[in-house]
């Protein structure tokens, strides 16, 4: 597998060929929620709707559980995942907070952003992060 020079950026999921292939069906499911008919069908029976996409069992469970970080680890891209949190009529900060580590509530994430966001210092690379 090709190693990329951004692989040492911590906690970051780039939609490259590796995630593209792993997450193809998952992302296409997420994108289907652009259509109001699809949103209605998903809302009516999430499990049945997910059966119409070729997701792995892990991916399916992550969607049902709204485990957003797990979804990214299984190939989802955040712009696609945005459709799911919107479908749930929640602000995106709910999703961002769930993906962040340690996880944060909406209020905690919002407070971090209001205070200037997560600092870049210490977060540029895995090495820098370990050095604190």
């Amino acid at each position: 597998m090709t190693v990329r020079d951004y692989d040492d950026v911590p906690g970051t999921y780039v939609l490259d060929s590796r995630n593209y292939r792993k997450g193809y069906h998952l992302n296409m499911f997420l994108m289907s929620l652009n259509k109001s008919e699809a949103r209605a069908a998903f809302a009516a029976d999430e499990t049945a709707y997910l059966q119409t996409y070729k997701l792995t069992e892990e991916q399916r469970q992550a969607v049902l559980d709204r485990e957003y970080l797990r979804m990214l680890q299984l190939g989802a891209n955040v712009y696609y995942a945005f459709k799911l949190v919107s479908h749930d009529k929640q602000p995106p900060q709910v999703m961002y907070g769930k993906m962040a580590q340690p996880a944060m509530s909406f209020d905690e994430f919002q407070a971090m952003m209001m205070a200037g966001g997560r600092p870049i210092d210490g977060n540029r690379s895995k090495k820098e992060q370990q050095n604190g």
Binding site: R4, D5, Y6, V9, P10, G11, T12, Y13, V14, L15, D16, S17, Y20, Y24, N27, M28, L30, M31, L33, N34, K35, S36, R39, L69, L72, N77, V78, Y79, Y80, A81, F82, K83, S86, H87, P91, P92, Q93, Y96, G97, M99, A100, Q101, F109, M112, M113, M114, G116, G117, R118, P119, I120, N123, R124, S125
Partner: protein, 280 residues
């Protein structure tokens, strides 16, 4: 001949559009942002071009893993604001300028920029939020629009240098259009932000400030950044800023900075806007 009069860079955060659409701009969270946009809007009111080229990206709305071209020109008569998962924004239809769009497209392809051509394209917040930034809430957008959609989502995105060169080629194409038209060009997206992953919420005001400084006085410096520079320093989604390079490439070497505004946060994003006018 047609000529480019000015450029704007602006973030296109969806929350900004939602705040306007839902009448929340006076709330304490939003008030400082919209206060800072007042000079942007005042300038736009006095400088409405016949046509505006809006360099933006689609967010899994009209394009997806199934088909996402590096550069796409919108040549349609009109572009419908899309339903991107929460219902379409209630904003005016975006009217195109097919004649100029086709002229630029032909000129670009014949000069080695292999553009995709979209005759039907629903536009998402990446394009409509900048219109709202500039023109607030009119019944009709005061400028015609040529959408130029750039892949900034799927790796590998075009290089920052390629984006700048595309801007230069757009300028030559515009200037070879026989009709006397004024043209604006906007680079959208950014500034620093990372929406996904354990590092979500990372911002980098120093990087953003340097990027804006370079836009004014040393645009070549912004073309030497790599994909990884953006991902590492400006957050995974901060790479959207390469679209500002297209805008800058279409301007003169020397520009006047008319106005700059920077505000943290808008949702999980550092908001930035800059207006640059060509000097003679």
């Amino acid at each position: 001949m047609a000529r480019i009069i000015a450029g704007m860079g602006t973030s296109h955060v969806p929350g900004l559009g939602a705040a306007m659409d839902n009448g929340k701009t006076g709330e304490p969270y939003w008030q400082p942002l919209f206060k800072g946009l007042e000079p942007v809007r005042a300038w736009h009111k006095d400088n409405i071009p016949d046509v505006t080229i809006i360099v933006y990206n689609d967010h899994a709305t009209s394009y997806s893993l199934d088909n996402y071209s590096t550069f796409t020109m919108g040549v349609a008569e009109e572009f419908i604001p899309a339903d991107e998962g929460w219902g379409p924004r209630q904003v005016p239809m975006v009217m195109g300028h097919p004649e100029l769009a086709w002229h630029i497209t032909e000129n670009l392809i014949l000069n080695e920029f292999d553009m995709a051509v979209a005759g039907s394209l629903e536009v998402d917040h990446g394009l409509t939020v900048p219109l709202s930034v500039a023109y607030d809430q009119p019944d009709v957008w005061p400028t015609k629009v040529i959408p130029l959609c750039v892949n900034v989502i799927q790796y590998p995105q075009p290089t920052p240098l390629r984006c700048y060169k595309l801007g230069q080629a757009i300028r030559r194409a515009v200037e070879s259009f026989p009709e006397d038209l004024s043209v604006g060009i906007w680079g959208t997206g950014g500034m620093s932000h990372q929406l996904g992953g354990e590092r979500a919420g990372v911002l980098n005001p120093e990087f953003d400030t340097a990027f804006m400084n370079n836009l004014v006085s040393d645009p070549a410096a912004n073309t030497r950044l790599t994909h990884t520079d953006f991902i590492r320093e400006a957050g995974c989604e901060g790479i959207e800023m390469i679209m500002w390079n297209v805008m800058r490439g279409a301007l003169n070497d020397n520009v006047n900075e008319i106005y700059r505004f920077y505000h943290i946060p808008v949702s999980a994003t550092a908001y930035g806007a800059i207006i640059l006018e060509n000097t003679d």
